[in-house]
Symmetry: C2
Subunit: 591 residues, 2 copies
């Protein structure tokens, strides 16, 4: 009864109509030949794999979890087979460069693929989910020898990779990392230390695993400026078959994502190779983390999509009570009941999910498209603008989408009533799985500080000005159309307030640095709500031309719903930010 149907029509709407892919890609030589038919075929094939192979392995993955034994990890039933099919289909290589064996397709399509993967089976997708980030990191920073040896196997999916930052005493604060590295005689290094929370640190999907590990060289300065990045394979040597001194000491018992092995790894003088320059490891790894954070955001979207489509179906199947307004007081026979989809409270929950999901899909895929622009557009200014926007969109997408993914899964769970709390109905797994994304890849609190303190206050508003320009364009375009004028005015009004409060925060930061930290989470939500407003305005503008077609009518109505019933939360966030000077007492330990 828990089923996934790939929303292919929705994807094509965003890619082809909203983002206008034909026109965009015509400007980028790398994608100039990409036609709609090719895209449709790719998405269709992805949809088949996800529906037929991946989604069916999700529930068992949760029920059986990973099994740890003597340093090895066995993934749940169906995971190995699904991974084999995934590689056979060429999916790991989708957005990788042809020089390394990739298909050279846009990140935009990779993001569509990943939304589907996350909807269908988040735990499984944790294994390949880090690959694109690892690929980007190595391609940008590794030596030609490392690239030649490792990259093609990562691109083909033959070997998977990991990202090893966290240590027991160093979580949000990577500056506290103590893993050590010492230079060997042959250009390699010996790395020793313990890492925790390593997703896919050990498993049975691939014969080798390539760890990207932050550690300190002997002469390293303290803090984050003393971290270097190392590539440490599970197997080394000319044939890649000599075991390296990397040990998996256990896997975590978690609330969800039970099919994903969260490993404690011990490097005991393991052989590794420097990636990038000494002490510049965090910068190298940030290449990985930016794309990784977009993908974590897509997890929130994927969960909300799954919750939405299953809740809509259940709400039409489940008969309880008469529809309100349909003379609820008349006596009725036992068994006489209407679908709960007709209850106003349920209907509003479902529409709220739709408004978030479809708005987030637009924002998320736009962000992925900007990754393509930033990398491949021939115009340097376009690339630089895209990078500016990406630096802001990355924390917003990560923080806002994952918080919504959890909150919306919980809202959807209510639709099932008591059944929602049972393991057999799927939604409670979605709720548990979705919770992790608010924590890893930088907690949502860290994302909020990254957005407001580092990215906005940090450059005194230079980059955020581009985001305001995007918002202004969307508002203006709506105000030029009779049927969208109201939405345009509403968007304009909230963006003016967003801009004003942003300037105040920038101005105050020099005098009172703690204030921005205190309201950062409210600010991130404000930005997320405004961004969804921007894209719903664009969708409405586009749909307004074809209101006689049900698909576009529905888009237009959902845009109105978003502005009427969801966007008001921006007023709350503004009020909380406006009240930022009210004291927050410190909280002591009880005596």
């Amino acid at each position: 009864m828990w089923q996934y149907a790939p929303p292919l029509r929705e994807f094509r709407f965003v890619v082809e109509e909203l983002l206008d892919s034909d026109r965009q890609w015509a400007e980028i030589p790398a994608f100039a030949d990409l036609g709609r038919e090719t895209i449709a075929q790719i998405l269709d094939a992805a949809g088949h794999f996800v529906t037929e192979t991946l989604a069916p392995a999700n529930a068992a993955g949760d029920a059986e979890g990973c099994v740890y034994r003597d340093g090895t990890v066995t993934t749940p039933p169906g995971f190995v087979q699904a991974y084999r099919e995934y590689c056979d289909g060429g999916w790991p290589a989708l957005a990788c460069d042809a020089r390394h064996g990739g298909q050279g397709l846009p990140q935009l399509l990779n993001a569509v693929l990943y939304e589907m993967l996350y909807s269908a089976n988040h735990a499984w997708t944790m294994y390949p989910g880090i690959v694109h980030g690892g690929y980007e990191c190595l391609r940008a920073h590794a030596s030609p020898q490392l690239i030649e040896h490792y990259l093609p196997k990562i691109v083909s999916g033959e070997w998977l990779c990991t990202m090893c930052l966290t240590e027991p005493q160093a979580g949000s604060d990577v500056g506290l990392i103590t893993t050590r590295a010492e230079a060997g005689m042959d250009g390699s290094y010996r790395i020793s230390g313990s890492k925790i929370f390593i997703s896919g640190g050990e498993h049975d999907l691939t014969p080798n695993i390539i760890h990207l590990v932050l550690a300190r060289l002997p002469d390293a300065p303290a803090g984050t400026k003393g971290l270097s990045l190392f590539l440490i394979p599970k197997y080394v040597g000319p044939e890649d078959c000599e075991p390296n001194a990397v040990y998996c000491d256990g896997i975590e018992r978690k609330m969800g994502l039970k099919g994903s092995a969260t490993c404690s790894l011990r490097f005991d003088g393991a052989r590794g190779w420097l990636v990038g320059e000494p002490h510049r490891g965090l910068a190298a790894m940030f290449v990985m983390m930016n794309s990784a954070r977009l993908y974590v955001g897509l997890q929130g979207l994927g969960h909300a999509e799954m919750a939405l489509q299953n809740a809509v179906r259940y709400a039409h199947e489940r008969m309880q009570m008469r529809a309100i307004g349909n003379s609820p007081t008349r006596p009725r026979a036992a068994g006489a009941a209407d679908p709960i989809a007709l209850q106003p409270a349920i209907c509003k929950v479902l529409m709220t999910l739709r408004a978030f999901v479809e708005g987030e899909r637009a924002v998320g895929l736009w962000t992925a498209h900007l990754l393509d622009v930033a990398e491949f557009h021939p115009d340097e200014r376009r690339r630089s603008d895209a990078n500016d926007l990406l630096s802001l969109l990355t924390p917003i997408v990560k923080g806002f989408f994952t918080e919504n993914g959890f909150a919306l899964s919980s809202a959807a769970l209510q639709v099932w009533g008591g059944y929602g709390y049972l393991r057999d109905f799927g939604i409670e797994q979605t709720l548990r799985d979705s919770r992790a994304a608010m924590i890893y890849e930088g907690t949502n609190e860290i994302q909020a500080v990254d957005l407001l303190v580092r990215k906005i206050v940090g450059d005194r508003g230079r980059r955020v000005a581009s985001l305001f320009r995007v918002a202004d364009d969307a508002a203006q375009s709506c105000r030029d159309s009779a049927s969208c004028r109201e939405l345009g005015d509403a968007l304009n009004a909230v963006v003016i307030r967003w801009r004003t409060v942003t300037q105040s925060l920038i101005d105050e930061a020099a005098v009172e640095p703690a204030t921005a930290y205190r309201v950062a989470s409210d600010y991130l939500r404000l930005a997320g709500l405004c961004l969804l407003g921007v894209w719903w305005a664009r969708i409405a503008r586009l749909a307004a031309e074809r209101l006689n077609e049900p698909f576009y009518r529905c888009k237009f109505d959902t845009a109105r719903f978003y502005f009427d019933h969801v966007l008001p939360e921006a007023g709350l966030r503004l009020a909380l930010i406006d009240g930022r000077h009210a004291p927050v007492p410190s909280i002591d330990l009880p005596a």
Copy 2:
């Protein structure tokens, strides 16, 4: 590391100072002799039981869960022992009438006891949790013979009881119940049908289990007006040792509350006895449900308290990053970090928990106190006023507290970062356990409709006027004090808006009945936020007299925090209700 410390000082503050128990109980002959020392002794003894016996069984209860085998249920390790101690301590009888073997103490103290029980071990507390409701129901509606035979054993804890409403096709809509009852020759009935989601429907804590079951007599009208209530023991006969035809066909696999057996029960011509009048079963059961719903609300409070005290402790132990404002840019040695409690985002999360927890405790215990007034106060008008208030407070406490319990547990989980997602740290169990309370005893959506449509629109605002009077008194009392004037003004302002929107909703309901249903959930949150405002105002007024003592200073500061940083959500709820005429499209199944 997951520990419970009973907040005894907090309980005594609410009971003795805020509710002024000495003066209250002096007015009620049943409690006139109850002194502070007795109360302190009772709470102290309860605290010992909860801390030493009940809390330690919580984690294993989750890990091992209940075991179902051939119709029997084995509870997790420690549950039987804890139940024995609970009975030996006389706790089931605390607020029961001395005529039936009870201790005749106020419900107010029973509510304090239950907050502790729920904090420490929600799953275990599901077994005795329904007892007080069952006791009230039988005492009010059962025949003298049934009372004489069953009530003393229920009061002593020797037998537990259940509440059997739900059937697969009849959840929120009890009018769809199909379980049938036929009169036998001896005054008893034969009941046949299947019930699901029966908490404690089968277990090994007591030798007999007394089921209170809704079913239909042969001549019953359709819908809710054709339901009769039956008492059906697991064992019958003169010695209570003949097995009745009640079968447990299985227990549910759930997201949480794994130590609580959620049973499918089959009545296969089981012998039972009518409780109350034929076809009036729902009214009889509502006696049970009103007190049950208050207790479900206390589950939300108990979880939030547990999350708060553990998060505060962890935030002081965990060292990551420097405190903000404490020259965050200076270079620092590895290992140099401050407790995360000093991070503005964490501090705000902790204060938000405290503001909700302490405010809810005041509201929850006031509600329990009103149960005492409604039953025992000699003045009929006071009893009737208390009943009016209770009819409104019950859905608010149930819906608002349980939603907050889950949301605050999730907020607290972020304090642990990645550790919060692990099974070993306790908070993820709290999050999973707390989720159920939003669903059972009437989903929170049902509570919202009960509050706004049935209770407020239903009597055209008669009862809610009493609630507004309480709010006005609190605001006025603050405005009379220099140090509380601002809070009084703020409370007054929000209550005026609450009152205005309430009147509009009442006026509109005749013309447009669906509107109230659509905004009911926002209205319930608005009412909950205002109520907490009322009690924070009262707390501030009281604390303002003793600001040189840290305990009262902290209360006063938390009241201000509530008004500055939490109450603004009322503005959002008002905005959403004000926007109630904006259309909500219906959501169709995909083509």
